[in-house]
Symmetry: C2
Subunit: 146 residues, 2 copies
DNA sequence: CCAAACTAGTCAGATACTCTGACTGTACCA
DNA sequence: TGGTACAGTCAGAGTATCTGACTAGTTTGG
């Protein structure tokens, strides 16, 4: 009668996150984008439209700049990103999305939309909207990068 | 005027998850539980009260049983878990929480409660309850293990 | 205008994590 | 009782991550 024990909220967040990531990763692989890893994708998805500095990517992904550099090297070799000098600072280089990376984005977006549609069908539209809204507000507390 | 772009729901889930994990990890380290890693903790928190089989832990954490064995070995060496034969199946052994692991649990729970209280103060009680409820329902779709 | 302090990124080396494949031993089933 | 399935381990390899030390460009305070 007590129903489910109130599962740790962290785990409650993690489970659907993991489900989403797995679906997107599998779908991209199926579409031919199978030459990158989840760790690389976690950096890739944080690249700003007009390019990001390595240090910023590292900060946002909460890894060291060395790790970020390692992952960006691989993304670069696979053709997903390219590096260009930052015109405003000769020390820095901008990591930008390369053609192969740009091609992957709509594929990923479509899978995200599909998963979100399934979730919305299960929860109902208003609850899904509430979920998204509350998570967005939580970001004010938990995301130092915006 | 357009406000924030609607951030990828996966990332929206990941950001608070990561925040929660970091807080708990840091708090445990401060309390003297500094001899384990996040990867070990992700396995540890899935151990059932009466013990779990290695294969089940691996499945729930979505890693191979070899990886799970590797992490449990370390948790065992650090005194967080112990292994006992499974009386119902001589092939299997039950991974159980050892005294040091049991001591860490209330500390972790207190930090989780603290973070949840902060989140609730920010969102308001009804929204926090809705968030928890919707995430719980999402689990029906995204968690094969319950 | 220049020396000190700071910042962007890389190099080198170590450790942690995860995987695939092959194997042992036990359980279950027809 | 023989075959198949399952629990777990062993061995080896690749991936991801870190700390510390370094180079080079930028900013700042006198």
């Amino acid at each position: 009668m007590a129903g489910e024990p109130p599962l740790n909220l962290g785990l409650l967040l993690f489970i659907p996150y993991r489900a989403m990531e797995s679906r997107v990763f599998a779908g991209l692989a199926e579409a031919g984008f199978d030459d990158f890893t989840p760790a690389q994708a976690r950096v890739f998805q944080r690249i700003a439209p007009d390019g990001s500095r390595l240090t910023d990517l590292a900060e946002q992904a909460q890894i060291t700049k060395q790790s970020a550099g390692f992952l960006v090297d691989q993304l670069e070799r696979a053709g997903y990103v390219e590096r260009a000098p930052d015109p405003t600072d000769a020390r820095a280089r901008l990591v930008r999305i390369a053609p192969r990376g740009a091609a992957a984005i709509p594929v990923a977006a479509a899978i995200v939309a599909e998963v979100e549609a399934e979730w919305e069908a299960h929860l109902g539209r208003p609850r899904m909207a509430a979920l998204r809204q509350h998570l967005g507000r939580l970001r004010e507390l938990t995301d130092p990068y915006r």
